[in-house]
Amino acid sequence: MSGLGQAPEAERAPATGLSPAAVGQTPQVAPLLEVDDLTVLLRVEGAERAVLKDVALAVRPGEAVGLVGESGSGKSMTARAIDRLLPRGAKISGQIKFDGVDVYQMAGADLRSFRNRVAMIFQDPRAHINPVRRIGDFMTEALRTNLKVPSAQAAARAVDMLGQVGIGEPERRMRQYPHELSGGMLQRVMIATALLTEPRLLLADEPTTALDVTTQAEVMAILDELRRDLGLAMIFITHDLELAAAICDRTVVMYAGQVVEVRESVLLHDDPLHPYTAALAAARPDIGRTATRLAAIPGRPVSAFEAPAGECAFAPRCPHAADICRAGPPDLAELDGGLSRCARAADLRGTLRGADHD
């Protein structure tokens, strides 16, 4: 629990009948991951400030969930909280359960097993690989040290996995150093490595953002295919709504450290439930046409501690904001099979459309 032991359960979520995280999904399957009322405080400029506020989400076994938002939305912080990778001194309240067990209560063998069952890949593979160790050594480390797999067997599994992520001459790659591989190839090595311990949940934090578009398409396809073959659940973090929709069943949209919308990915672009989701889709230029004027969102995205207290965090930038939005912070409420944190969500049904510029 090093560095993280400070009050993981300071404020437990009260056991209500229906957890908000469970809404909008098939109820009969128990979630693999359940996050409830997750609030995280970090020391920022000498004061303790909230970076996540009451985050709730759930992932079923084998399900892919997109986590979308701009800077400060808390999307990466959510993944780090799940994987117990928060910075030292972070204060956490709420609950994260993996397979029914509280992640912050795990220790010893349970924690090691959790580490093997939850894998994470990051935006910049070069920042997460030791530059002076060979690819093969890096790839097989978890197998050899945590799972006590004999070296030869671990290497054989790594070679096989490199083949599955589309890397030619895997034996030669195993002997190379990170600097000898391109960014796209190194990210495929990271994916292969993450899958070697046979995880059940993959946390992918902007894994293709630093890659060229054609390489991105390739890596996304590999991720999608292997995830389905292996029955692996995934949280895919990105700033790109379309990218999340391409390989995720559901998408969770975050703003200012909160979940503002949960929606089936196929519906998100054309039929969003929250004004922020609609504004985000409309602000993006369209490859198919030139807009006279892009529908820019005024102001800038804020983090949880910068958001106005006592009102909707998006209200200052929202074209639909009314008195009710400034009267108090809205709850995440069920609507048309999804969830929306908008006091006017029901009024605005049918009027929010992502794709209209001009």
């Binding site: 800077s71 030619g168 591989l181 190839m185 060229d212 578009v213 390739e218 490859i287 820019a296 800038r300």
Partner: protein, 274 residues
């Protein structure tokens, strides 16, 4: 500052750059008219940034010519005066607003320095122009006086654009200038760039890998693959009906509603081992 011939404000012809054995840019030619805009599209290693660096004089071409406002700039400037004149012809805005500003200078001081060096104006006139430029790019009075570290990425990029415009260039090179910005801020900066072109008649050379941004901001496009122009034309026709295999693949790789990524036959093209 008017271009005597009425011809293109920027003309690049037969441009080639070798780094040792590597040919980074090979026989690239294009021209930009006044108030026109061209995108140079390509992926890592395509040579697009090398072209931008040669245009602003940060790299010397191995072969070929670059002319702005009818004057050659393919050889290094020989005097400070020559260098300043070139600066008033072409300016550049880089991708990363966190590393392209002096951390000790406020936006006002940054812009003022350019006005002093380029135009030699008296303080009163400079002050008035600083106010105009900061207003043009949408910085409020507090932001204009602030040091870069207190500004967000979008605000810093506005400072970088205002600084570039202070020299009153005829051509502005935008080297992935909106790539690092959040979507909601990127839209603001793209609208700003459209306004600036309308009010100043500046021409843009947009270096970008993002085809949607290219569509929004430019009239013409050249597609670069491994240093070679593989396709060129009006932005709308190239993006709507790409002819070259590489452009088609680039177009098909862009996420959009209903898009599904596929494992392509051309694995790893556009990237290589280093």
């Amino acid at each position: 500052m008017t271009d005597p011939s009425g011809g293109p404000v920027l003309e690049v012809s037969g441009l080639r750059k070798e780094f040792g054995e590597l040919v980074a840019v090979d026989d690239v030619s294009f021209a930009v008219p006044a108030a026109g805009s061209i995108a140079i599209v390509g992926e890592s290693g395509s040579g697009k940034t090398t072209i931008a660096r040669m245009i602003v004089g940060l790299e010397r071409p191995t072969r070929g010519t670059i002319a702005a406002c009818g004057r050659d700039r393919s050889r290094p400037a020989r005097s400070a005066r020559d260098r300043r004149r070139r600066g008033s012809e072409v300016q550049i805005v880089f991708q990363d607003p966190y590393t392209s500003l002096d951390p000790r200078q406020s936006a006002e001081a940054t812009i003022d320095e350019v006005l002093r060096l380029h135009h030699g104006w008296a303080p009163d006139r400079r002050r008035a122009r600083v106010a105009e430029l900061t207003e043009l790019v949408g910085l409020d009075a507090r932001q204009a006086r602030a040091l870069p570290r207190t500004l967000s990425g979008g605000q810093r990029q506005r400072v970088a654009i205002a600084r570039a415009l202070a020299a009153e260039p005829r051509v502005l090179i935008l080297d992935e200038s909106v790539a690092a910005l959040d979507v909601s801020i990127q839209a603001q900066v793209l609208n700003l760039l459209a306004d600036v072109r309308e009010s100043t008649g500046v021409s843009y050379v947009l270096i970008s890998h993002d085809l949607a941004v290219v569509r929004q901001l430019t009239q013409d496009v050249i597609v670069l693959h491994r240093g070679i122009v593989v396709e060129r034309g009006s932005t709308s026709s190239v993006l709507d009906d790409p002819q070259h295999e590489y452009t088609k693949r680039l177009r098909a790789s862009v996420p959009r509603p209903g898009w599904k990524p596929r494992r392509g036959a051309l694995l790893g093209a556009g990237e290589g081992t280093t």
